[in-house]
């Protein structure tokens, strides 16, 4: 009996503390590390508690469409079909807020060659199409006159599961190679012409680490943390650039000038001398009009903090911060959020 009373008392405490404002989100696993850091900091600062389920971008989009969470997070922008589904279900439009950026490194295993093989987009696409099969292919040799490339078969590695990283990577290949665009397209998961599928970033990195001659695409954070060699990619301006936080932010700044109104910008192969071509935004998606005024205010306040102050945390967790120009666009979007038609 005592135990029961104790349990009841505990339950009472829990339910009392949950009377505090709580926001719920779900979606991208890519965003999870920085989100959990943000939520913790923000909770200590303001007392607002935010729960996040990192169930994958697809799941996040579904949940926000069904209205079970306050916000979703996705590594790929919603398709027009998904947007109209949302409007139908929630009676208001969906707003995309670029929240953080990620770069995709092209990493490989050639112990005899070392860091910094130079590649351009069409060659990379042809490697993934199975047309370029050897490391000493004349096209690769021509770009790397200073390197002694071996007569080794290229093993292509890719993600086996649907992933935002794959979306960014395939959107780049589609932009630079008409063949790729026609045969494979841009998506979080595709029908790969060649190669081995591995689960998760660690899986892809594992295949590459074990197989001499392998090539693969992985998140910038993972490549940096594990000191993997990566390719210098030729950008739109014709320069070979390394992948790092500056070149990724430069790509966003380069794209900011031509940003579409809804901020659903896929910024691969973006202009600018220092822009790294394979990178992208991750988005938080929220309804344009939020019924619960209290939630709306708290959510918008948090997002405003995230896209400005929060960006300072980004590089320590190996994300690339949003450039100032994009932060400004985000704030404009957030200021336009309403609750039941009224300004917040």
């Amino acid at each position: 009996m005592k135990k029961v009373l104790l349990l009841l008392a505990l339950f009472g405490v829990v339910s009392m503390s949950s009377a505090q404002l709580q926001l719920n989100g779900a979606g991208s696993t890519f965003d999870y590390p920085i989100f959990s850091k943000w939520f913790d900091t923000y909770h200590k600062m303001t007392g607002t508690e935010i729960n996040y389920a990192s169930i994958g971008s697809g799941g996040g989009i579904h949940q926000v469409t069904e209205g079970t969470v306050d916000f979703g997070a996705s590594d790929a922008p919603l398709t027009p079909e998904q947007m109209s589904d949302f409007t139908k279900a929630q009676g208001t439009d969906i707003v995309h807020i670029p929240i953080i950026m990620g770069g995709v490194a092209i990493t490989y295993n050639l112990p005899s060659v070392g860091q910094g093989i130079k590649l351009d987009g069409t060659t990379l696409a042809d490697i993934y199409l199975g047309k370029v099969t050897k490391w000493n292919d004349p096209r690769i040799v021509k770009m790397n006159p200073d390197k002694n490339l071996p007569d080794k078969a290229i093993l292509v590695a890719h993600r086996s599961e649907g992933s935002g990283t794959t979306f960014i990577f395939t959107s780049y290949l589609s932009k630079v190679s008409p063949d790729w665009a026609k045969q494979c397209g841009t998506s979080i998961a595709i029908n790969w012409p060649v190669g081995i599928g591995a689960k998760g970033t660690e899986g892809v990195a594992g295949v590459i680490a074990q197989t001499e001659g392998a090539i693969g695409y992985i998140e910038l954070a993972y490549a940096k943390q594990n000191n993997l060699p990566y390719c210098l990619m030729k950008n739109q301006a014709g320069k070979f650039v390394e992948v790092n936080f500056n070149t990724v932010s430069a790509a966003a700044a380069g794209a900011a000038a031509h940003m579409p109104k809804d901020l659903r910008a896929v910024i691969t192969n973006s202009p600018g001398k220092n822009s790294y071509p394979i990178c992208g935004f991750s988005w938080v998606v929220i309804p344009k009009d939020i019924k619960n005024r209290e939630h709306a205010q708290a959510l918008v306040k948090f997002l405003k903090w995230g896209v400005t102050k929060g960006q300072e945390n980004a590089t320590s967790l190996y994300y690339a911060p949003l450039p100032k120009s994009v932060q400004k666009l985000d704030l404009e979007k957030l200021n336009a959020i309403t609750s039941n038609g009224k300004k917040l």
Binding site: I55, G56, S57, G58, G59, I61, H62, E66, A76, T79, E81, Q82, A153, L155, S160, E161, G162, S163, G164, T170, C184, G185, T186, S187, I188, A189, I190, N191, W192, G195, I196, G197, A198, K199, G203, G206, V207, Q210, T211
Partner: protein, 352 residues
């Protein structure tokens, strides 16, 4: 949850409510029974509805019946739920879902055949490796091993079953795959240079790796069940055989023949486990939905594709195709189990 579903559930709740109201309102007898505190009347009433049975027995019987029915209903409900959620894909692709060979999430063109192929072939590979091994282990443990060796050895084989599948997967990536790539696969290609089964550059992430991992995982099932079955063969049979002057080999053969239906069951159970296994296979099989004769090429299984693609699948058709995959896996498992039952019955009857 769609509106239609919400509507269905609310309608279901409504019927329950109506039932409850009926119970509360209709049989006046029951109401009176609880109102009146007449002891005699009450016992007479109880006798009338219970007969000679004990009230506790009846409650017990009904309760177990209820749970048995619930389990059955749960299976039906799952099947129905999967069917209704995959209707989009069933309507769009029809039988083509089972006979074409493309799985293209971008073009939204889906077909299950490569995954069905991968599931069946990797599981059969696993059986080819695990059955001789598992049966040898079982025969040794049940018939030949001295008592001091039998206990620890059986414990160790059963321990194999307790290892989580993701641990097998990691072991696969770091130990099995390099070994297959550097030793086994080059050897196979040298021995059988023209065999269609060993074509292509050996990278270690392929159907063979999936089959080998699965074989290790089903080995404890096959060996421990077979051992139990062999042990349950009555000792007089062995004694009689020895008495007739049979050798150890001949005795074992006799015992084995006696136990074959159970052993068949063990093998099929192992096959069932292999068909549904997910994590370890995904980590080594290379996840590539294709149909080739070569077991040195990457493949994909149904359970693997579900684990890989479900969380990020965003379009309705994609999701519904994945659920249809799950439905197919469900049906395959049921078919395997029915098949196993029939086999076991068949051999039992022949023996009797």
């Amino acid at each position: 949850m769609t509106n239609a579903k919400v509507f269905q559930i609310s309608r279901f709740l409504k019927t329950i409510e109506v039932e409850l109201v009926n119970i509360r309102e209709s049989p006046a007898e029951i109401q009176n029974f609880f109102k009146k505190s007449d002891e005699k009347k009450r016992s007479r009433f109880l006798k009338k509805i219970l007969g000679d049975k004990n009230l506790g027995d009846i409650v017990f019987e009904r309760l177990t019946l209820l749970f048995a029915v619930l389990v059955f209903l749960l299976v039906l409900f799952m099947a129905w739920e999967m069917y209704s959620n995959s209707e989009l894909s069933i309507n769009k692709f029809g039988w083509k879902f089972l006979i074409t060979t493309t799985w293209d999430p971008y073009a939204e063109n889906f077909s299950a055949l490569p995954m069905i192929f991968g599931t069946i072939v990797s599981s059969l590979l696993a059986l080819i490796i695990a059955v001789p091994l598992g049966l040898s282990v079982a025969i040794f443990l049940a018939e030949l091993a001295p008592a001091w060796l039998e206990k620890p050895l059986s414990f160790l084989t059963e321990l194999l079953a307790a290892i989580p599948s993701v641990v097998y997967g990691l072991w696969g990536i770091f130990v099995l795959v390099p070994w297959l790539r550097d030793v086994v696969e080059p050897f196979l290609q040298n021995q059988f240079p023209n065999s269609p089964f060993f074509q292509g550059a050996p990278y270690g992430y392929d159907m063979l790796a999936g089959g080998v991992i699965l074989s290790i995982m089903v080995l404890p099932i096959i060996s421990s069940i077979s051992r139990d079955v062999l042990k349950s063969v009555p000792d007089p049979l062995r004694e009689a055989a020895y008495g007739l002057g049979a050798t150890k080999w001949e005795v074992t053969k006799t015992v084995f023949t006696n136990a074959r239906s159970g052993i068949l069951g063990a093998i099929i159970l192992g096959f069932g486990r292999a068909v549904g296994e997910t994590m370890a296979v995904v980590m080594v099989i290379g996840s590539r939905p294709q149909i080739t004769a070569s077991i040195l090429k990457p493949a994909s299984t149904i359970a693997g594709a579900l684990a890989n693609e479900f969380s990020e699948a965003s379009s309705d058709l994609y999701l519904s195709a994945l659920i249809e995959l799950a439905l197919i896996l469900f049906v395959i498992t049921i078919i395997i189990n029915i098949f196993a039952r029939l086999l076991v019955w068949g051999t039992e009857r022949r023996w009797k």
